[in-house]
Point group: C2
Chain length 250, copies 2
């Protein structure tokens, strides 16, 4: 069965959660212009800083679980997080990867709609939902920003549906790489040797494939000189145009 997920031994979510409250006041935040905080002025930022805590999770820790009451919302400031849903028999679909600047905590009737796990060591800004909602009353700009954010995510979700429903394995991998490159660029990070912080099975569960197919497709693209794999989990797009065409469905 594809996408089967061996539940790894989890010593409990908070076991290695480090609370580093108030070390990073928002005004010094280096991902502010990437995040929803970019619309806030200094006084509003101060009020936000009052309710925020900076927390860290080691790689593979669970940040939040589907179905739990959504009392805490997060903003990624460092590292990579994956969002996923499980079927009863363990099949897993990863619905997204989050990088610095990305917002976390889509809820449905105040319960998380998915689970989230740290891919690498991560640092997050944590907001109590109630207090954030109260703050929103006074900050229509922030509310607008959240709506714009949700719209962007919806558009991305639809692109992902096209990928999952209609693209071949080659096209899926190419789309994935192109997408990572764009997002890395947006964060001001190198976009040509692209960093792949996640493993093959995470990629597989994100693209609706198996690890074997992901691996085979990488080697196929490698032998066709479209990409090269470099040490440190880096992928170089040797032929970015070919990647673009494949990603678009060529």
């Amino acid at each position: 069965m594809s996408g089967a997920h061996k539940p790894s031994l989890d010593l409990g979510r908070t076991a290695r959660e480090l609370r580093v409250d108030q070390i990073h006041p928002c005004s010094a935040c280096d991902v502010r212009q990437l995040s929803i905080c970019d619309v806030l002025g200094a006084p509003e930022l101060r009020r936000l800083a009052d309710i925020v805590a900076t927390v860290s999770f080691a790689a593979h820790r669970t940040v939040l679980s589907e179905g739990e009451p959504a009392e805490l919302l997060y903003n990624v400031t460092l590292g990579t997080v994956k969002l996923y849903k499980l079927l009863a028999d363990g099949r897993r679909q990863i619905t997204g990867f989050l990088f610095p600047g990305d917002f976390l905590g889509i809820a449905l009737e105040h319960h998380y709609a998915y689970s989230a796990e740290a891919v690498t060591d991560v640092t997050l800004c944590r907001f109590p939902r109630r207090r954030l909602e109260r703050l929103l009353e006074d900050m229509p700009k922030l509310e607008k920003r959240l709506l714009a954010n949700a719209s962007n995510e919806l558009a991305a979700a639809q692109d992902q549906m096209v990928l999952l429903g209609r693209k071949t394995a080659r096209e899926k991998i190419a789309s994935f790489l192109a997408n990572l490159a764009v997002r890395a660029e947006r964060r001001g990070q190198p976009s040509n040797p692209i960093a792949l912080p996640m493993g093959r099975s995470d990629i597989a569960d994100y693209l609706g494939l198996t690890t074997e197919t992901v691996s085979r497709t990488f080697t196929q693209l490698k032998t066709q000189r479209i990409i090269t794999l470099e040490p440190g989990n880096l992928v170089r797009l040797a032929d970015p145009l070919a990647i673009e065409e494949l990603a678009a469905g060529g």
Copy 2:
């Protein structure tokens, strides 16, 4: 190639668009409690009515096209609409079906993120985006409602990713039927013999399958006495429990 879409001759979007402005003032709207308008009181509803127009499209007409400037937003009041995206070679992914009460017009940087086409004859409430945005300034409740709406759609999009990436054809069809039943019920419509206003190829493009596989799967479920097909494009869930189990990934 699966999902190939023969572009049907289109005589132009507005050719058969009927403008029936102001015939339905919002206060008499029979889908108000299903839509984003449910949070508005009488005075606010009146202001909304001032900027809304009621428009109709015949089946198969294009309501809006991906990439166009998003100057108009809609709310479905009657009929069924499908949202879709195309790849360059014609492969198509339907990203959603909209029924009465559903909101239409997710945009990215003020351009539509997808195309929308009438499945049946439909009637819609149409809002000019700018004027609606201006109205939002005075109606924080409506803005909150739009955000909640976007959250719901995001959760639904993630469920669809699970379906597309990890479910079998049988499970996809079962999930689809279960989902239609829930939504019909929510609208106060019969949920057991379920109406299927869309054709096999729309279902296929929604579930990431081909029409042949959709058809085969229906007959398979029929011979297993899990469903029966009734005249008028109705599907009866003869064994709702089996449908539920299949939909959940059993």
